[in-house]
Amino acid sequence: MGHSMKHIQSLLACIIILLSLTSRAQQLPLASEAARLCREMQLDAALEKSNLSIADKTESSEAYAWYVNGFVLKEIYKAREYGLRNSTYREEAIKSFANSMKLKNASQHLAMTRLALKYLASTYYNDALQAAQSISGSGEDEAQTLFASFVKWMPIAEPGISMTGYEKEYTKSIGQRYFSLWQRDTDSPEYRDKATAQYEKILKLDDSDVDAYYNLSVIHYNQAVFMYRKIDHETDLFDMMTIQEAASKLIREEALPLMDKAYELAPEKGEVVRGKIILHRALDHEKDVEYFKSEIARLIREGKITADQQK
């Protein structure tokens, strides 16, 4: 009996909400019409109607009018400007959603508004990652601007969300880009230093980030390898020994301690164990090389890494 009562109460509550929404829809004819047009994918007509709605004195004070406006703009962004990093539709959509959250009756659309905001914020994040991969000599302003938009809107879309993971991921992406720019011009330390700075920044955010230790180690090791690669028949004996001294010091004092740290944090990660093999081989540590080779064999045997990770 009690159960039936609760059921009836729920039903009544739903009916009341529906009635209130219907009545509001009747009070907001422009917004309701825009929503209908949008549902039918008549986006230009929907936008026109929605713009009239948010310009209307009565409708513009209602959250619903701005919510519909944000939604229409978001649909246009998806249909016409998805992937366009400087999309104005996206920017305007976000502003409308944000406005909607501040207005009368906002709570009735809050869940969906946040979901829409989360979607748009995540597109900023994706675009920031994409922009990071096309950073050139002109700098990282575009990627930073996009990421700043993500950082601004994501916590509004999802209050209490931790941004550290995203910040690390984005910073890694920039570090990776600078690393590959350095690989193209190994004589220029500018990109190497910028890549290093990114990974150091990650360690400030999280001093247990295995990838950051690993990547920093690889940067130092690469620096040494590029020095070794220059040795040829024109290299004087003294010069060769000087190069070797500097390069081995870099591996011994910079690359290896960082790889050790990565290993300490992730002793069963294939690429880290392989990194240990390569660094110890570079220092002619025969016993260590044999030990870590046997570790790789064990990890494969135990199914913890696949055979292709040992290469």
């Binding site: 994040y125 991921e169 090791y221 040829d232 070797q244």
Partner: protein, 180 residues
């Protein structure tokens, strides 16, 4: 009012997939260069270029034999083959060609073929072949020059008497940089 709900799931998945892709690609590639082999190969070239052989060995190709270390062999071939040593051109040969070569000027025996050193020192007795190795105690076993690893750097020690017996004269630079 919920005219949009179904679409979100799809786009959020796309967005997360893009993020995941970037996570998987975050580790840099570590180069596979064998840097110790680069150094050893260069040393072999320096020994060849900065030592003197008897006049009868200054004709034909200047032959460097590599036994038991494919990385050193590959680097020697890539970087030093066909380079002039005096009036001779450097030729690199592998272990299976050593016994048939007319004269091997420099022979590198890697520690992986440690057991073969006795045979080479016996076969090359009285021949002007500079025998180079890379393990502790190799000079006492008949090697002329032996690589050592000191704090990760490759250096070398010499058996001057052995070199004199083989009539190979090390140049000043070689003597100067050998560990005494």
């Amino acid at each position: 009012m919920d005219f949009h709900i179904r679409k979100y799931g799809f786009y959020l998945i796309l967005s997360l997939a893009a993020c995941l892709g970037s996570v998987l690609a975050c580790a840099q590639t570590i180069p596979d260069d064998n840097t110790v082999a680069i150094i050893r190969a260069n040393y072999l070239y320096q020994f060849a270029n900065n030592s003197d052989w008897p006049a009868e060995n200054k004709k034909g190709p200047f032959i460097v034999g590599i036994v038991g270390n494919s990385d050193v062999f590959d680097i020697m071939v890539a970087k030093y083959a066909s380079k002039p040593i005096g009036s001779q051109l450097l030729t690199v040969i592998g272990a299976n060609e050593v016994s048939t070569a007319p004269h091997v000027h420099v022979l590198f025996v890697d520690r992986s073929k440690k057991a073969d050193l006795a045979k080479y020192t016996r076969d090359l007795r009285g021949v002007s072949t500079l025998i180079v190795t890379n393990w502790e105690g190799a000079l006492a076993q008949g090697a002329h020059i032996n690589f050592l690893s000191i704090d990760g750097s490759i250096r070398f020690e010499m058996n001057k008497t052995g070199m004199q017996e083989s009539a190979v004269t090390p140049g000043v630079k070689i003597v100067q940089w050998a560990i005494q």
